[in-house]
Symmetry: C2
Subunit: 337 residues, 2 copies
DNA sequence: CTGTTAGCGCATTCAA
DNA sequence: TTGAATGCGCTAACAG
């Protein structure tokens, strides 16, 4: 890497002052056309690249977003994570921002951790992905200054964080309506991890919709556990042991649905003839299982993009108060129902 | 975020000099126990966090790894990417390094791009994930200084880059042997994207193994395309149109295998009775499809970890010449064969 | 529109 | 072991 080319070198070469060169590069409009062109020419000639550490130190900002992924290893979020991350990266690139990634496995993330990062100048803003637990900073008084932090996938508005996620209720309402229309009257809900906010929201959506339709008592709940496939098989075994089995099974995730269906099919039952199964998330594979899974597609890419936009809005003061941004999911009917 | 606490503040509070405070924090052993303890106490009291921009500028390093993901959106690498990224993050955390992420969709990455990042001080080293094309810097003479760049998943040693990947041949040899042992004598290989290095390597591994077993002429090739499921269905249609169909199908990825199997099952053929199908990659879902897919599991997490270790080794001069690090995959037999 | 002057916060010489 | 001084490379006031 030969040696480092600095503004001073460009100043020497062009005969201009360092500050002029700096301006020509960062604020081309505040400089004469002539010097701008000269500087640009010499800069590319010498292969000048502005040193980010120096820029950051001088400006006091970093132009980077820190992504804190909670259960990024757990099967829970992992498959969805890719889409979100892609959206985040794309939007960040569009806005000229960097993306820094850090994982927090199974540990709760506390506000003070995040504030520490912010303070250290690691990043200007933080994206919390799939963070169930958020411990607000105890020592922060009511100084209403809003932190540049956005939660993805979990509604943390009550903790003062703007959140971006899918309108989950809508998806489950669509599933219920579809199954009822297909003639189903007995339902099972395969639950996600106990205590999960998603779990809670989703189960309630199903429950409430069924109640509205006068079928509130026709729903049982099967314990799944984590959002993964193995938990789905466990729930399926419980299902098979039932004396009177529901005809329609609504799962808290595609992973659960796949594991569930695998076991059901293995037992000799037919899907959807004997049991209709619906998933949730919209994983790629759902369209290619046999039978293909009915599911609800989450707009992961869009969620990632929007989260970054929201962060930018907070950063430049266009958003000053916590809010919930909920995007619409897409319901797709396939062979499993 | 109240205001920024700096070394100067600690110096004031402790009555020590800034440089002493700095030393106490970064080189505790070069300072008396007394001052060390004093500084630590006051630092935590005031909530001091060292400013990374300043440290980076002063030291001339960044302690961060830049991850450049190539086709990270394409279905190709995406599912595997999660595992790798997790491994990278874990190891990076263990070594006290940051991870910065950037995507390069469908664009070839050139050495000069990477060198630019390095020069700008965005990162100290670079991890290329799934980079098929690598254009060496034309202007770099034979200055044998090795760049802190590692390629993951693609063997770029010929271009002078140390590479970390799976020993792909082994996996396909295992598949072939298994199928032959099961009595199969006619094979099809569902290919990945044309021109892909993986595609080439994998097909050859199959071809060569069959030749060794005297079955070299019993292999046909079905064009798949990208590593995704849709391409698998396309290949399956071609397969179904064949007059004389092979009894065993070896796919270039799990996605292809899933799409292929979906279509095959939909046509009324049975798996594995009529057609045996094997995938490659070890995606989670393969264990829960019906029938479950025989496949080869890539040690993605391990690959990520090792790549970071290798980067560290290059960085501190323990590795000075390009090499290929190939990890062993795991073959798993399931219902589809 | 351009040059001068000061820092940004820290690490690291060199003396003491 | 500690203190004083210098510089990392760039940006941003402030004059001119």
């Amino acid at each position: 890497m030969t040696k480092r080319v600095t503004l001073a070198d460009l100043a020497d070469q062009t005969g201009l002052n360092i500050s002029t060169v700096s301006r020509a590069l960062s604020r081309p409009d505040r400089v004469s056309n002539e010097t701008r062109r000269l500087v640009e020419k010499v800069a590319s000639q010498l292969g000048y690249e502005t040193n980010v550490a120096a820029r950051n130190l001088s400006r006091g900002t970093t132009d980077t977003i820190l992504v804190l992924a909670s259960s990024f290893s757990g099967q829970a979020i992992s498959p969805i994570f890719t889409g979100i991350l892609l959206g985040v990266c794309e939007e960040a690139k569009a806005l000229g921002l960097n993306v820094m990634l850090r994982q927090y496995l199974a540990q709760p993330i506390s506000a003070s951790d995040v504030i520490r990062y912010l303070q250290a100048g690691v990043a200007d803003s933080v994206l919390l992905v799939a963070t169930e637990q958020w411990l607000p900073a105890a020592d922060r008084g009511p100084d209403q200054e809003m932190l540049p932090i956005v939660s993805i996938f979990n509604d943390l508005t009550t903790a003062g964080l703007t959140s971006v996620m899918t309108q989950e209720g809508d998806g489950y309402v669509a599933i219920v309506d579809h199954l009822v229309e297909r003639g189903h009257r007995h339902f099972a809900f395969v639950s996600g991890p106990a205590g999960s906010g998603h779990e809670h929201t989703r189960y309630n959506a199903v429950k409430n919709r069924l109640s509205t339709l006068g079928l509130g008592k026709k729903l049982i709940r099967l314990e799944g556990g984590p959002f993964d496939m193995a938990s789905g098989t466990k729930a399926a075994q419980a299902f098979l042991a039932l004396k009177k089995r529901p005809t329609a099974v609504i799962c808290c995730s595609d992973g659960l649905a796949l594991g569930f269906m695998h076991t059901i099919l293995g037992s000799g039952l037919r899907v959807p003839e004997d049991v209709a199964i619906a998933g949730y998330d919209g994983m790629d594979y759902t369209a290619f299982t046999s039978p293909a899974l009915t599911t609800v597609i989450q707009p992961t890419l869009e969620i990632g993009r929007v989260a970054v936009q929201v962060l930018a809005d907070i950063h430049n003061g266009r958003i000053t108060t916590p809010r919930l941004v909920a995007l619409a999911p897409t319901f797709v009917v396939r062979q499993s129902t």
